[in-house]
Symmetry: C2
Subunit: 301 residues, 2 copies
């Protein structure tokens, strides 16, 4: 276990122009840990309810994911999200959110996780993200994600999380909203001032940008013509990113760039099927193949 | 003269959050030819009115731009566009358009232009773009641009232009609109079926994509924190792109990629001041410096 991932484990009911799934395995910790499992040894901290089935457990176990930190709350049901996508599928439309056992979730970090050098704080209440950090011995790298809801309702607590993070992963709209600017490069500069080493700006189907104090790097998304369901793409990206970092000898610019490419490739597989159907069953050669493709997509002679 | 550029020559009155200019030199042929002039020998086909002043002529002449094809219509005034930008400045808000002499413009290609190997058809009525092509001896490469207005009102004529173009340059929203899809990669594939060698999809502040039959390449915009006025960025990009192509020995994938980078760099200078103030006075070293910067922005180790 060298990578702690904190976040939701959920059942998702999703409809896109290309099909529908009911109660499919989802959630940040699920997508993130499955993606990271190709490069690191992730352990999950999250909560599920009495309805969490053996089949779902086995999907995670088969990927070697440590589940000691996954609480089972027998008094309720697993977090259930229902949503759909239309048109360019860049924006999810939520139909129903049943937090269930996730509503009263408090992260408890098992002793065996406390020294994990890498931490991915998925999008949960900022106070809970801080509680996680308070239970950890000095991690080497903390990656945090968030969402518009916390930017609006808890900006001060969120800023505390940002100040304790090494990498902030945020989408373009959220970055502009948090910084109160209309320029992405300016928002990234503002966020860097909070102390993070790198800012990742996610641009949905347009790719991803990486800002450092004196560096800028951008990658497009792979030009897929068969996007089926974008649910979990951001978490799959983040999991691949931090998983790859956990494998790097040094955390320098080159390592961050390789990790960004890895996250991009993992996300490209995620969106080509519902749930984690595609990402749970990859071979190393699948990943290498797309890394080579991605490299060619940015080769500037 | 090895590059024909057809399009508007205009005066622009522009207001952005960073300032205002009145009746500044603008228009597709202006922005395009100034940008291209660093790499090729452009000649303009367009029209101006009785108010077109010596100062504006001199800006073009100093860049070595051939003006034999620039008609002067003494019966009216030069095309005048007034607009403003707000927020992220990705979308111009038109306040007033006075077509003036541009309304009855018919492109007449001077004999000395007819054998130009490179042609940039700026955004004008598709029928006029076709008239230009009918007057040309077999050019080596035709680049065309368009806008939503023609996609809505003249889709059939526009398709004829596309079928006779080697490179179609179009922004993301326009590509989706023309192809009736919600996926950019699918739109690009559709457009390629019309016969062009490459499709360029412009993503505004997010950069640009280049699609070939078996290739994909993407470049981010340079991460500028001081964007002053985006007017003319697309035309400046196109001019730099085709100008650089005109300098290439072979029109292969590498040449297209280098040209895309050149266009991106020229556009980065364009947006940092009003009108062509910045792009009209560059030194080759300025361009090389940003090409090196851009290369580092996409270096994937």
């Amino acid at each position: 276990m060298n990578l702690l991932i904190v976040g939701s484990v959920a059942f998702d009911t999703v409809e896109t122009p290309f099909g529908k799934v009911a109660r499919a395995l989802g959630g940040t910790a699920t997508y993130g840990s499955i993606s990271a499992s190709y490069f690191a040894s992730p352990g999950i901290v999250g909560v599920v309810g009495s309805d969490f089935d053996r089949k779902s457990v086995n999907i995670l176990k088969r990927r070697g994911i440590d589940l000691e930190g996954l609480q089972v709350d027998p008094t309720g049901k697993t977090f259930h999200w229902s949503g759909c996508y239309e048109g360019d599928m860049n924006q999810a439309i939520t139909c129903d959110t049943q937090l269930n056992v996730f509503e009263s979730f408090r992260p408890v970090i098992p002793d065996s996780y406390r020294k994990a050098p890498f931490v991915f704080l998925g999008n949960i209440l900022p106070d809970l993200q801080l509680e996680v950090l308070n239970q950890m011995a000095r991690p080497k790298l903390v990656l945090c994600d968030t969402m518009n809801y916390w930017i609006e309702s808890q900006p001060d607590q969120l800023e505390k999380v940002f100040r304790r993070s090494d990498v902030i992963c945020i989408n373009d709209g959220e970055a502009l909203q948090f910084c109160g600017t209309s320029s992405i490069p300016r928002a990234a500069r503002e966020l860097l001032k909070l102390g993070a080493r790198r800012i990742i700006i996610k641009l949905g189907g347009y790719g991803v940008q990486l800002y450092g104090k004196d560096s800028f790097f951008a990658l497009p998304a792979l030009p897929l013509t068969n996007v089926i369901d974008p649910t979990g793409a951001g978490d799959t990206f983040a999991g691949g990113f931090i998983g790859r970092l956990a494998k790097s000898r040094r955390l320098d610019e080159n390592a961050f760039r390789r990790a960004l490419a890895t996250g991009t490739v993992m996300a490209s597989y995620c969106v080509q099927d519902f749930s984690c159907r595609k990402t749970a069953g990859l071979k190393p050669a699948d990943i290498d193949k797309r890394l080579t493709m991605l490299k060619e997509c940015v080769r500037l002679p």
